[in-house]
């Protein structure tokens, strides 16, 4: 009996293990996790893995970026639009350090990434070997988890944990550093997906009493205000969220990363909160009686001065990450857990309501904002083109179906304020880290993950040039992204601050730019530049109609400012319209 069992066990082992190299194991792990595309750049310490990629190129598509930062942002764009884990790979030393900005961006914006870096041979670790850098040490503060692998046999478990940790709970980036000898070493490969890590509780249990307390506050509120964030999108809770706000008649505002969870045109959508957000939700934050935060983290760009933020209101916070509760704003009721499950359980506890008088206040304040700001942004009468009217034209011609990938700065605020979103996961931008250079590579990843969607990248002339080399990737991979550069020949947001707070001393913000159209054409990308309003409609049409990638430069007014604006340190209700 015992003997038979041993034989059976042996048979089982041979069935599921095979003797392969560490580098082949890397590919097999990726395939087991459903990865069919990854972004990266080869180099000495990761060459064995690239050699295996060559053999597996029919199963897994490697996209060669032009800089490792581009690979990291492309993987982010891929993850943000698809909800899947993005994968980026680089060699040791400079390859690895070049990933760091993308990793830090993914960490602060909760984007699931698995980054793979090659490392010098384990016998050289710590010896200042060629292209050696302590990437595990460097990436520690900006990763959800990281690990160095020095033996091939550690590879399967490292990958299984990495994917599990990256996508579970509050998602984030992880990094696996693999020494070159571990890539060459042969071992008996067997892959088992990770089902849990004993020290890690990705989704805290939702306490029923806190749900009831939250429902009671919402039901008794006379002037409730919802502020939702990316948690609704990451938690795939868009439907549950809509049901909750519709039943209770809750005016709802979004953070920059929460945008597009419900359509822009939804009657309960009252706009964006924060520094350049809409007038009504910012002002009324300091008038509401219950503030319901859902999957957001009260970032300082959202709250302005915390001493004067919603002090009159009871605060309810739906949140998956316990460390976010009471971090910036003291809550009255915290509902821990996954947004989808919590909101689903909340729905039956809520009374139907409409809050018509309260809604009217949002409409009244919108009218003021429209007259003072929006009208002039979208339908300007002055000569120079505005960023807002370009967005308006893109909205019209894409019917709000496009995913907008924006960079960082004035154009980003304009894009987030005015882009129309009919579909979730449509606003891809660097929110927390504010990484200039994010948009172009992120748009590549987004378009490759969602080839059926129109992906329009919008950048300023500054940020565009921070990763302009990725035009090479677009050309080589034939990625049909639409590239819009709103060129004001300035680092516009910094210039705006210099104008308002530094007495118009424009230190190092004026840009002398190259011929962007010629550069795009150098990469065989169709391109045009416009400077007049009369050409806008036709130019956007030509761009949208183009089957391949397209570059459109729009020369906009040089010294326009973005309003409304909450100056740093001011209260949300002191938001300025001019």
């Amino acid at each position: 009996m015992k003997e038979t069992q041993t034989i059976q066990n042996k048979a089982k082992t041979t069935e599921t293990t095979e003797r392969i190299s560490g580098s082949e194991a890397v590919i097999k792990c990726l395939l087991a996790e459903g990865v069919d595309i990854l972004y990266g750049y080869p180099g000495g310490a990761i060459m064995p893995v690239y050699d295996e990629l060559y053999k597996y190129q029919d199963k897994i598509h490697h996209v060669l970026s032009r800089h490792e930062q581009g690979a990291a942002h492309a993987a982010q764009g891929y993850a943000r639009i698809s909800g899947k884990v993005g994968v980026a790979m680089a060699t040791s030393g400079p390859g690895a350090t070049n990933l760091i900005t993308g990793i830090a961006d993914a960490q602060i914006d909760s984007t699931p990434l698995v980054c793979i870096t090659g490392q010098v041979g384990s016998h050289l670790l710590g010896s200042d070997a060629f292209q050696e850098t302590d990437i595990v040490g460097i990436s520690t503060p900006v990763t959800k988890w990281n690990i160095q692998v020095t033996k091939a046999s550690q590879i399967p478990e490292a990958f299984a944990k990495a994917f599990y940790i990256a996508k579970s709970g509050r998602p984030g980036p992880v990094l696996i550093d693999i020494t070159k000898d571990a890539q060459f070493e042969e071992f008996d490969f067997k892959y088992e997906k990770c089902k849990g890590v004993r020290s890690y509780n990705p989704v805290p249990e939702t306490d029923e009493n806190s749900l009831k307390a939250a429902a009671e506050l919402i039901n008794n509120a006379k002037k409730p205000l919802v502020v939702w964030g990316q948690g609704v999108i990451l938690g795939k809770a868009e439907e549950e969220f809509k049901a909750v706000i519709e039943k209770a008649g809750l005016p709802s505002a979004w953070t920059i990363l929460g945008a597009s969870a419900i359509p822009t045109s939804h009657p309960l959508n009252v706009g964006m909160v924060g520094m350049h957000g809409n007038y009504a939700p910012n002002v009324l934050t300091n008038e509401c009686d219950v503030l319901i935060a859902i999957g957001m983290r009260f970032d300082d760009r959202v709250t302005g001065n915390l001493e004067t933020y919603a002090k009159q209101a009871k605060i309810v916070h739906f949140e998956i990450d316990p460390a976010e509760v009471d971090k910036n704003v003291q809550t009255d009721v915290a509902v821990l857990g996954d947004a989808k499950a919590s909101l689903k359980s909340l729905l039956p506890l809520l009374n139907e309501n409409s809050h018509n008088d309260w809604h009217q206040k949002f409409k009244d304040l919108y009218t003021i904002e429209f007259e003072k700001v929006i009208k002039n942004d979208l339908h300007p009468t002055k000569e120079g083109l505005t960023m807002g009217e370009v967005l308006n034209e893109i909205n019209l011609q894409t019917k709000g179906e496009a995913a907008i990938v924006s960079d960082v700065g004035q154009h980003q605020m304009i894009a987030c304020r005015y882009a129309e979103f009919n579909k979730t996961k449509s606003n891809i931008t660097s929110g927390g880290l504010g990484t200039m250079g994010f948009a172009l590579p992120a748009a590549i990843g987004a378009k490759m993950a969602a080839p059926d969607r129109e992906v329009v990248m919008i950048a300023g002339d500054g940020g565009y040039q921070m990763n302009i080399q990725e035009l090479g990737t677009i050309f080589q991979q034939k990625v049909p992204v639409k590239i819009v550069v709103l060129n004001n020949e300035f680092l516009g947001m910094v210039r705006q601050w210099q104008q308002l707070f530094f007495d118009k001393r424009y230190a190092s913000t004026e840009m002398v730019n190259p011929d962007f159209v010629a550069i795009a054409k150098g990469y065989h990308i169709e391109a045009q530049k416009i400077s007049n309003r009369k050409d806008l409609k036709a130019a956007v049409k030509e761009m949208i109609d183009c089957e391949g990638p397209y570059f459109l430069e729009v020369r906009v007014e040089k010294e326009d400012n973005v309003f409304p604006m909450i100056p740093t340190g001011a209260s949300v209700s002191d938001i300025r319209l001019e």
Binding site: T140, P141, Q148, V197, D321, A323
Partner: protein, 176 residues
């Protein structure tokens, strides 16, 4: 919540992993908080490590840091306690010239009264070891300084709580 700095002893139960020390100390570093003392050791559970960290911060800071520590994948649980809630020890070692033992008779009294212990004596030097609370060690240090100390070092704090930690049951479950 009080804005006064309080001395907290933080106890962190973790997986035993390379790099976790870096991850935990980075959380204090980010907020520009000085770590007064740090000790890592095995815990009562097989394969589970215990960090003991002493810091002087406000309760509000402490709560936020506790959350950020527990958020680390390989941290099982983090607790913080005030002086009154724990039993703690620190230890220290003094190296001194051997002739003092014979020339300065009160050194022997100081050693006896402070409950210190002579670890070793040879022709040139002798070594005193003392475990106790911070103030006791400070006092002994002051008393011995006048005779000239060749070398002195003290350890990080180690502590157990007076009350049972809620983690006990959770850790028991992990033992299986």
């Amino acid at each position: 919540m009080s804005t006064e700095n309080i001395q907290y002893t933080v106890s962190i139960y973790t997986e035993n992993n390379i790099g976790l020390l870096n991850r935990i100390s980075a959380i204090f570093q980010r907020r520009h908080i000085n770590i007064e003392s740090l000790n890592t050791s095995p815990s009562e559970i097989d394969g589970v490590s215990r960090f003991t960290i002493v810091v002087n911060i406000t309760e509000s800071q402490m709560k936020k840091i506790q959350g950020q520590i527990e958020k680390q994948v390989e941290v099982i649980k983090a607790f913080y306690h005030t002086e009154e809630e724990i039993i703690y020890q620190e230890s220290c070692i003094f190296k001194m010239r051997s002739n003092l033992l014979f020339d300065e008779r009160q050194i022997q009294n100081i050693i006896k009264e402070s409950n210190a212990r002579i670890v070793t004596v040879n022709r040139d030097f002798f070594v005193i070891e003392k475990s106790g609370r911070k103030e006791e060690i400070d006092l002994l240090h002051r008393e011995l300084t006048v005779f000239g100390i060749m070398q002195f070092t003290r350890s990080g704090r180690i502590a157990v709580t007076k009350d049972e930690m809620k983690i006990s049951t959770m850790l028991k479950a992990l033992q299986h």
